[in-house]
Assembly symmetry: C2
Homo-oligomer: 346 residues x 2
DNA sequence: TGTCAACACGAAAACGTTTTCGCTATGAAT
DNA sequence: ATTCATAGCGAAAACGTTTTCGTGTTGACA
């Protein structure tokens, strides 16, 4: 087992100084051709690589990005990470992951763990609990210490930083408009409680679409589900809620759901009730994931383009990190959504 | 913007030495009650936290685990990460992610990026291309340099290190036996090419189950699909392949697929051909993901318990890192699979 | 008064780099 | 012969810690 070799060891071995070795390896003109070759050959032989930690300490930058997300077993978030990793790697950065698990405390702890010099900046999506408690001091403190943050998807206006979002309102408005233009007269929405910003916005898009078609919203057709974090028994009760929705409103002929799972479950319930998709009832979901694509019938969805969001966020952060003018100008990038039409709509 | 404060700054501010500050913060008995309180108060006021990079350099350990996986937009792998993160965090470690994207080169580059001091050890699952080329020098070198590796799922016997696997053979043998005991007479398997070790093992399990039931394997019923990495047009051709399988073998009444997607697609094809599930034909997949649970009919699967695998791998690695006896004894942990019966089987 | 332990603190090394500055020897130019 | 530029290299500082060792002051005790 030959341990990693250091400059000091090379220096001792070749009977030169550490500085000489360092310079020789970086092709400095100060060093004679002779010694340069000697050093480089030796270094190659022993497979020398500069110690990253030492470099980080010296340069006061780690070339590492911290990413905090609510969960990773989730198509959207893993897509985003995939995008982050892509541009980060291309630009010589590493990605270090923290999971908040939708918990405020874990979010804070994770950020503290990373903010002590381990990373150069954050990319994050806010935990639900944090959104509920509306306690954002940890973000403010981090930014105050000079560590840049890029937020994506679940953001909050109160915090002043770079952001990458989609136009939730427009995306859902489009989707609902599509249902209406496809002939649906009674479109229901399955959404989340309002504290989830995206849920709220998507509900608003629904309402605006109705308005554009001069339809008065019917509160009976708006189902606000308690939580997105779905355990197995929550699933059961969700099914019953949706079943109730359909039973009490026999005229429903279109459903817009603010996420993929709600839409899939609603389709299942509808089919069990004997409705034909898309003839009797049409469905559109939000967030294009593996479920939408492979469901039967395949589900039309509003794609969030998670990978692009990740790429944009990473670009924003790294550009910021490598920009030397100190002038802070925060930008918000809006990624366009895309309505992917499949077999759950006509 | 108040930047992070250092020991040196505290020392200067309070007119004591750096050593005194350091000791005071760590409650050393060398320091008088007076100065201790003064220093601690000051540190708290300025929210002092030791710089992680400096600590890493000094201690020659980073308390960070490097994870290299083929892709992250994948239920199984994200589950594993989730498990790794859980125990890593609990034990004060961070997790840094590298994606090989199934490419040999990216695997090597990623490992080099991390092996230069950024991490204390690796947890990884081998890229397909690496398995094909059978070039494992980067693993050997890493281990030789004293950096421990834990492999999970896609392993290779040639490399001597800790491993976490499932009993692929047993898992698939169980699944196929289940189909047979459910009355299936002609069970087909949809599998991958043999270079993917798990594909090979699962195929073998299939054969052993048949043997146990004294059934002679029919090569027509063994469909070896080219690649697991499925792009959209690959999907189409996969459907046609499976359709061919069914058309040419009308007697098939059971299907075992080595992953979830193959099973879902096969179910779809079968349904389109007018077969009733599970009456005419039964299905079991491998890898319990979101598709299996929410498909209609829901798919019976062999669960790999990804999260547990991640937890076990992290525990193995950290135990190794924190053990001081130098005696190397590699262990292989086998995580039990579980057959989850849903509606695609009787 | 002289000795010694205990106390409280500081200096410095070490981790592995990079970089600035200074030094010496060589040869050329005056 | 003296000056001077230059080539080639080394010493040391710096990044932020922790820890070992040394040192000065105090008070107690013989």
């Amino acid at each position: 087992m030959k341990k990693k070799i250091t400059l000091k060891q090379i220096a001792r071995e070749l009977d030169v100084s550490i500085s000489t070795v360092s310079k020789a390896l970086r092709d400095s003109i100060e060093i004679s051709e002779d010694t340069r070759q000697k050093v480089q050959a030796f270094a190659k032989l022993y497979n020398y690589r500069p110690n990253n930690i030492a470099l980080s300490l010296k340069n006061r930058k780690t070339k590492t990005i911290g990413v905090i997300i609510p969960e990773i077993v989730h198509h959207f978030f893993s897509k985003v990470i995939s995008g982050i990793e892509l541009v980060a790697n291309k630009r010589g950065y590493n990605v270090i992951i923290g999971l908040s698990n939708e918990s405020f405390d874990k979010e804070v702890i994770n950020m503290q763990m990373l903010a002590n010099g381990s990373i150069d900046g954050f990319i994050l999506s806010i935990a639900k609990e944090t959104l509920q408690q509306q306690d954002y001091h940890h973000f403010k403190e981090t930014i105050n210490q000079g560590m840049p943050i890029v937020m994506f998807d679940r953001i909050v206006n109160e915090i002043h930083c770079d952001k990458v979002i989609i136009d939730d309102l427009k995306g859902s408005k489009n989707a609902v408009s599509k249902l209406l233009s496809n002939g649906c007269k009674n479109v229901a929405i399955i959404t989340t409680k309002d504290y989830v910003s995206v849920g709220k916005l998507r509900t608003q898009g629904y309402l605006e679409a109705l308005e554009a078609y001069e339809i008065t919203p019917d509160t009976d057709l708006i189902l606000k589900v308690d939580d997105e974090l779905v355990s197995d028994d929550r699933l059961e009760s969700l099914e019953r809620e949706i079943e109730g929705l359909f039973q009490n409103n026999k005229n429903i002929d279109g459903v817009f759901a603010v996420n993929e799972l709600y839409a899939i479950i609603a389709m299942k319930v509808a089919r069990n009730l004997g409705m034909k998709i898309p003839d009797d009832i049409q469905f559109i979901g939000f967030t294009d994931g593996v479920l939408s694509k492979h469901a039967t019938p395949s589900l039309s969805t509003v794609s969030q383009h998670g990978q692009e969001m990740g790429e944009a966020a990473a670009k924003l952060l790294i550009d910021n990190l490598e920009r030397d003018d100190e002038e802070e100008r925060y930008t918000t990038i809006v990624i366009e959504t895309e309505l992917i039409e499949r077999n759950s709509t006509k």
